[in-house]
């Protein structure tokens, strides 16, 4: 009986959290984005009095939304690929090699995560500009994102490299496989879920990253989050902000669900029966 009520309590609190954090903000954002400019949504109405796609159309036509989306959706996949590539050597070393102080290195690699993003951003931009990257904003942000999200990528990929079984590598070799064939048959299947997870996570973080994109990019280079910010300042229009938030968040939610499915389905293929 006691157990049952505890379960029930957990379910209800989970439900409450979902409502508070997901359902309410989302619903409000959607409703706000449909508020027609002709009639404001005042607190005495439960729903916006007039609803239309006017805000969506307006922002699409008259703001830098298109450019911002193009920038963000070019930046994020590039950052994902670059981060993955940069993470590989370290991840390989941490996952497959044995050396003294490995645990310390693992911790060290994660350390940058404790520094707040803005602090990193402010001082990082100084380095970027010293490197002469200020002329190429896209490159500067791409580089900064890759460095910033490297700890996540290294962490995920080194766990993936640990999953590669030495006896699969040895068996492939014993059967005459070239280094490339060995990689394909022994490494790749075990690394695949990690590669996908890394790409998706960096993609999502890069899409949402504001501090660096703003400090390095403004005022010429807009991404979706920096555009959102400009709609929050002096000329704050809630319905416009709602539209941009939704554009920012919805693809991420879809990707997250995809990632979840992927990680769930990835595991059974990893083990070969006993041993």
């Amino acid at each position: 009986m006691k157990r049952f009520s505890l379960n029930k309590m957990l379910v209800w609190s989970l439900f409450g959290i979902c409502v508070l954090w997901l359902v309410i903000p989302f619903t409000l954002a959607i409703l706000w984005s449909f508020v027609d400019p002709s009639e404001p949504w005042t607190p005495d109405h439960l729903l916006p009095p007039v609803m239309s796609f006017a805000r969506w159309e307006y922002l699409w036509e008259h703001s830098s939304l298109k450019v911002a989306m193009l920038n963000s959706y070019l930046l994020a996949p590039s950052a994902a690929l670059l981060t993955l590539t940069l993470a590989m050597p370290t991840a390989y070393a941490l996952g497959r090699l044995h050396f003294k102080g490995k645990e310390a290195v693992k911790l060290l690699v994660l350390l940058p995560l404790v520094v707040p993003g803005f602090v990193t951003a402010i001082f990082f931009t100084a380095i970027l500009f010293q490197m002469g990257l200020h002329a190429w904003r896209f490159g500067a942000i791409l580089f900064a994102h890759s460095i910033l999200f490297l700890p996540y990528a290294i962490r995920i990929m080194s766990v993936s490299f640990e999953q590669v079984r030495q006896n699969h590598i040895d068996a492939a070799r014993d059967l005459g496989a070239t280094p490339f064939a060995r990689w394909k048959v022994a490494y790749f299947p075990a690394l695949k879920p990690g590669v996908m997870a890394t790409l998706l996570i960096v993609f999502i973080y890069s899409i949402e990253e504001f501090a660096i994109a703003f400090i390095v990019g403004s005022p010429n280079f807009t991404t979706i989050p920096t555009l959102l910010f400009t709609n929050l300042g002096a000329n704050f229009i809630r319905p416009n902000a709602a539209v941009i938030s939704l554009i920012l968040v919805v693809p991420n939610v879809v990707l997250m669900l995809f990632l979840e499915r992927l990680l769930k389905s990835a595991n059974p293929a990893l083990s070969s029966g006993k041993g």
């Binding site: 068996a171 059967l175 496989a177 299947p189 083990s271």
Partner: protein
């Protein structure tokens, strides 16, 4: 002709010597087992033969060619791994053909070898499945098949049955032996299971601390162990400290031991005046005899099904006897004798 020849091979990891000056040969169609306790260097030695490790000293020849520094992918050996090492995302058929594809054999030849092996190993119905849809025994057969499709001149086994349950192990044993004979392959088989070694091997090499302690056919090893380590590792043995007190005739010696004076018949003379001797628990003869009679109280017993282990104690020394008769309940002391030819001289005492 010798397919494999291992010559004075040593393998050191830093200061630690895992394999210490080992030499042996394996002939065509011969099944040789490396037997020894865990950590004695069997896997290391096998990895030197397969090419995964380069020996610190010594030489490996396969088919008369020096392959000491040839990498495993270019060596004419095929390994059956302990945990099978099947590729989990490939079907059984793809696993079986993996090596053939690496060799770029024509499709027709691949198909023919695949069918041949699948038939011999009873895997025809499993070809489209993934490894984790198979039972342990089937996975084991796929691993064996994958090695056999390569038609290697030597097949290497590293404890291939240790993941199977006891009943299955016995049938797979026979199967491995049959297939190895069919293909007339040289085989090196690593195990720590003495039963497996005795049942399967043409020749057993007993390893201890990186060295070969004794080699011979299963019957030689069982009947004439040369050291107490071998006597104890293969089968059961009562090992005693003995001192030679005299030679009675050409091959009869009188020795004094903790359990009394014993007469020993041996073709080979004792190696030293003070040495170890042993006798097998199943060789106890019941009742008093003309020689080597022993009468001692039974301290405890353990029923084993087809026999009962009796532990007797003489002068503080426990000895084990296997009694193959029922109705033991009322016996509290045992009268028995050991035939002189059942006592074996072992190594000198240090």
């Amino acid at each position: 002709m010798n397919t494999v020849s291992v010559q004075n091979v040593s393998m050191r990891f830093g200061d630690f010597t895992a394999v210490d000056d080992v030499s042996f040969t394996v002939a065509d169609g011969e099944f040789v087992t490396l037997l020894g306790p865990s950590g004695c260097g069997k896997t290391t030695l096998l990895n030197v033969v397969s090419g995964f490790l380069q020996p610190s000293a010594g030489k490996i020849e396969i088919g008369g060619v020096d392959v000491t520094f040839v990498p495993p992918e270019k060596r004419d050996t095929a390994m059956c791994f302990q945990s099978y090492a099947l590729f989990p995302h490939l079907s059984v058929a793809e696993n079986l053909q993996f090596g053939l594809k690496q060799k770029r054999l024509p499709a027709a030849e691949r198909k023919q070898r695949l069918n041949d092996v699948a038939e011999k190993l009873d895997l025809v119905a499993q070809l489209e499945k993934l490894p984790n849809q198979l039972s342990g025994g089937q996975q084991q057969r796929v691993a064996l098949g994958r090695a056999l499709t390569m038609r290697p001149s030597v097949v290497l086994f590293d404890e291939p049955l240790s993941n199977l349950d006891a009943k299955l192990r016995e049938s797979v044993r026979l199967e491995i032996r049959k297939i190895q004979a069919d293909y007339n392959l040289a085989a090196i088989y690593v195990t720590h299971d003495q039963g497996e070694a005795l049942a399967m091997s043409d020749r057993i090499l007993i390893m201890r601390n990186g060295k070969i302690e004794q080699s011979g056919t299963p019957t030689e090893i069982y009947n004439f162990p040369q050291t107490s380590f071998v006597a104890d590792f293969i089968g059961d043995a009562n090992i005693l400290d003995a001192t030679i007190i005299g030679q009675e005739s050409e091959d009869f010696w009188r020795v004094s031991t903790e359990i009394g004076e014993l007469l020993v018949k041996s073709d080979t003379p004792p190696i030293a005046k003070r040495l170890k001797i042993c006798w097998r628990p199943e060789n106890a003869q019941f009742g008093a005899g003309e020689m080597n009679s022993i009468e001692a109280p039974i301290t405890h017993r353990a029923f084993q099904g087809n026999y009962t282990d009796l532990f007797i104690e003489m002068n503080g020394v426990a000895q084990r006897v296997q009694w193959r008769r029922s109705h033991l309940e009322d016996i509290t002391s045992l009268s028995m004798n050991i035939r002189p030819e059942d006592i074996i001289f072992l190594e000198a005492m240090t």
